[in-house]
Symmetry: C2
């Protein structure tokens, strides 16, 4: 730590360097430490990764060239997702803007002043897709407590909570929901938000969660917070323009983005989850012994093959 050459690495180690170590670190007792979460991913077989379907992937390009890719969740909010696909395909979000950035809460985008004049071909008043019947849903339970729900876990790599009767998607960091007015309005999908702070779980079962950011989350979360009430931007001089939003499935298959996510229904996922809950190696002095659902979001990777 005193050696200037080591200092850059030392700084790196300061919080989270285990993932950087190439080989499994050796504990002070001389026995090999359990693999880190990153090491588990690096060793994961090809079939531990689940494709993100191109028909669920939206490619959003901002005026500064930033590209944000997000995945829709048709299994959980089919009417809202059908609306969003239609809005994307009809060009509704081309020329829309990031409207709101509230610290430790949400980034929200759509058309200013909720202009819906061009929102055509959608279900104007979708049902309240805030939750869905638990019967028949194969949830892999997270073996740890949750502050809010009776139980939580993963359904096809999505973070889900349940009470025995219904299940629902969870408002974790990077999850996307549909902004709405007061009930019975449920929002049509013309304004969407994503979570940029500690999971605001009190929103669960109160808004329709319809997707999650796959890539470019950092390019949303680093925006200046809005100056108006609730973090809204004042006007177009503050707003960040969305140049275009496209369904990946409508793009050239050879050049469109393609992603995979760690499949929660695999043993690799279990090993990775256990490594997240029980950090080992030289840095950690006391493993947590648990991990909460929003710290257990399966990672994405670019699909290379």
């Amino acid at each position: 730590m005193r050696n200037p050459t080591a200092l850059a690495m030392s700084a790196c180690l300061a919080i989270a360097a285990l993932g950087l170590m190439a080989a499994a670190p050796v504990t002070q007792q001389g026995t090999p430490a359990a693999p880190s979460p990153q090491e588990v991913l690096d060793a994961a077989p090809v079939d531990a990764w689940r494709d993100v379907p191109a028909e669920d992937l939206v490619v959003m390009t901002l005026a500064d060239g930033s590209v944000v890719d997000y995945q829709l969740a048709p299994d959980f909010a089919p009417v809202h997702v059908a609306n969003i696909r239609q809005l994307v395909r009809s060009g509704y979000f081309d020329g829309a803007s990031i409207l709101r950035v509230q610290d430790n809460y949400v980034v929200q985008w759509g058309r200013p002043d909720e202009d819906k004049t061009e929102a055509k071909g959608i279900v104007a008043v979708p049902p309240a897709e805030y939750d869905f019947p638990a019967a028949g849903v194969a949830m892999k339970a997270l073996p740890y407590r949750d502050a809010y729900a009776d139980h939580v876990g993963h359904v096809k790599s999505w973070p889900v909570a349940g009470d025995g009767t219904t299940d629902w998607l969870i408002h974790c960091y990077g999850m996307i929901g549909v902004a709405r007015d007061v009930p019975p309005d449920t929002g049509s999908g013309t304004q969407l938000y994503t979570i940029i702070g500690h999971a605001p779980r009190h929103l669960d079962r109160n808004l329709a969660v319809v997707g999650r950011i796959v890539s470019g989350m950092d390019l949303l979360a680093d925006r200046p917070r809005g100056t108006e009430e609730l973090g809204f931007y004042k006007d177009d001089t503050q707003r960040i323009k969305i140049v275009s939003a496209k369904m990946a499935s409508d793009m050239d298959a050879a050049t469109r983005p393609a992603f995979q996510i760690l499949d929660s229904d695999t043993k690799t996922f279990d090993t990775w989850l256990n490594a997240k809950a029980n950090r080992s190696g030289a840095f950690f002095v006391r493993p947590a012994g648990a991990v909460d659902i929003c710290n257990a979001l399966p990672p994405f990777r670019v699909k290379t093959s």
Copy 2:
């Protein structure tokens, strides 16, 4: 929602507008709804607020004029806090920089390359102030489950977890810790970080938590994420300079910043916490019935008297 005039408000309502309503909303049944968290704060008596001591408050000014105020926690990490006070007073952070911004994780500041040549008069190797004996600590327990700890709650408005033997400060959004290398190094306080994402609770009891951001959190969290490993900035062209850091107690008492925090040992706090856990009013269709410790951080306000 169809009325253009209402649309701005409609957008505001989209996620979290209850706090904006001036009067207690009336439910559809015609009975007054329980007050919102903001309404509880608005009605709080003066003695529900606890002063942030000037000798615990650091005023950090960035090159772009941003001012970030943070509170030290001498009751929980006295040696590290004494070090930080000394580093501040000796000018160690004047000319330091924000070195690292990793999305959904941390902002970290100090001198590049861990230059400690001017870190004088500190305890170079402090004890591991990661936790402290629970005996004699008056924790107000949060009446909800926690994913990580046997129990959690508040000690003098700080978020604390415990296992019956020891207690420890929690890595919630905005909490400040001391960066370190591998054990037995505990960090001296020359590099500090704050949490800008979902609470990374696996860091609890592995690093010394020494304080929290009081004001200006948004001015740290909105920085561009670093391009290097772990979100480090590449060089001084990316880093954000810290012009100065001062102890508020060393500044002119008439003009220095002064803050208060909702006192967790008051009935107002209990009412506020209950309102956070059980949202009512026109917007929420299903109260969560719980709130996790990192969504139960007592709010600050500017001290006006």
